[in-house]
Symmetry: C2
Subunit: 278 residues, 2 copies
């Protein structure tokens, strides 16, 4: 039998509300996922879910109920709440009545293997969770393996990142590492790193990208910092002819990723492979 909660002061709901804070998310290793589409994707991907929160008064979609049923059969705890209580949890207005508390999943850096042909993105000091989520979404589209978050990067489990990822947070592998660990790992494994900089002389479109590589992107304001830029075999620039002196970081990442993707497609080394196929 499901739990039914009608008081928004319930301790479990209080915890959910606290998951808006990164500190609390990290303390428990949990995050909050809202909306039918995202929760369904998590269930379909077999993502570890701690509990589902359902507001039956707000949930009419049959597609949604099928997924609730599927999760229930797998033993996921379901909490039913009133529409009002659900709204007190929700981040969006007019929420759809389905949310989940899911477990964070981190891939160790040692699992990253660009030398085997994998495409990865590494992000330094990205501040905006919306940008991070959008980068995950594009990385999914081009069949990248995942994203490496170099220290001081915003949290991919921030609700805004999860939402902007449109579910790619469940398909892309997420690695977080320190500069020290990353430098050490590079010294051992010699991955191909390609950085971006508006000061580079190499046009991103005229460069031939090797099959396996890590695309290194710097922060919105500062670009890639010297220790990371020094690691890159090549720095590429995206030309611009307007007045504004830079591109949005998610846009710049997408332009480079699609160039790599197009070259792979042209070489025939990317015959419609999905991100999770081998």
């Amino acid at each position: 039998m499901d739990d039914l909660i009608t008081s928004s002061a319930n301790p479990r709901l209080k915890l959910i509300r606290k998951l808006r804070e990164r500190k609390v998310r990290e303390q428990y290793g949990l995050f909050y996922v809202e909306g039918i589409r995202l929760v369904a994707e998590a269930i379909q991907q077999g993502w570890p879910i701690e509990m589902l929160v359902v507001a039956p008064q707000r949930l009419s979609s049959e597609f949604a109920w099928q997924h609730v049923e599927q999760a229930r059969q797998k033993g996921v705890r379901i909490i039913e709440v009133s529409a009002k209580v659900f709204e007190s949890l929700a981040l969006k207005e007019n929420p759809q009545g389905l949310a989940a508390v899911a477990r964070q999943r981190w891939t160790p850096l040692s699992m990253v293997n660009p030398n085997a042909g994998e495409l990865w993105v590494a992000l330094e000091a990205i501040q905006d969770p919306g940008n991070l989520g959008t980068i995950l979404r594009t990385a999914d589209a081009v069949g990248a393996k995942g994203v490496i978050l170099l220290e001081h990067t915003t949290d991919p489990y921030d609700p805004a990142a999860v939402r902007a990822s449109m579910g790619a947070v469940f398909t892309q592998q997420l690695v977080r590492t320190t500069q020290e660990e990353f430098l050490q790992w590079c010294a051992q494994t010699h991955p191909t790193l390609i950085g971006t900089s508006d000061k580079a002389h190499q046009d991103y479109h005229e460069f031939t990208y090797p099959q396996g590589l890590i695309v290194m992107m710097g922060s919105e304001r500062e670009g890639l910092s010297p220790p990371y830029a020094a690691l890159c075999q090549t720095m590429v620039a995206i030309p611009m002819v307007g007045r504004v002196d830079s591109l949005n970081v998610a846009i710049a990442t997408a332009i480079v990723l699609y160039e790599i993707f197009n070259q792979r497609r042209q070489r025939g080394s990317w015959p419609g492979l999905g991100a999770n196929e081998e």
Copy 2:
């Protein structure tokens, strides 16, 4: 002598606060610009500014003061406010102490001339002002002329759009039009329209884009609606190999714009031309 305002209940400041609402922005034809960089860009571009708002206690940048001085000499009204009053206006935390109330500027549809080689973007029903601002920023980067807002598109003068544009709102021409007017104009001028759709058979990367054209982008959720899709000579698709079934609209726009830009560069028909040069 500048006006000095220390009460945040001052009617002029009340008006500024109301400019957060689209209705009020449209009623007065004004918008609010915040931050040194954006205000400086508006002044450099000779943009029509109604007044500058300066918080001397918060404004230490010499670069900013030079621009304030330049605006003053051109006869722009300068309002000085206390740090506290400025914070009551500001949209961001820790604002930089410089803002402007600027006049909206709209280009009539009849000035759009893709047949003369101009590159334009037309947006249908884009909802998110951050996406719109980011599209303006990318359009600036590839030397597009401007953006045509088909009805029910969010406001480019929304503070979030202005901020995300990084100043491209001052360099890109902005056109707004109804479906009826747009259809009529197309029937008369026969512009080349290229639409995007994830269902199209034409790969965006294998298509040769003509020199002058309008790239038609649909909304975040729905894509391009049938009346606009029917107008397009060609619909192109951006291939994806992941789980997520679409790209962010600002990302999709950027990928197509950079493809067009790269083809122009390869043809040599785009030798470093700036957006505002002919």
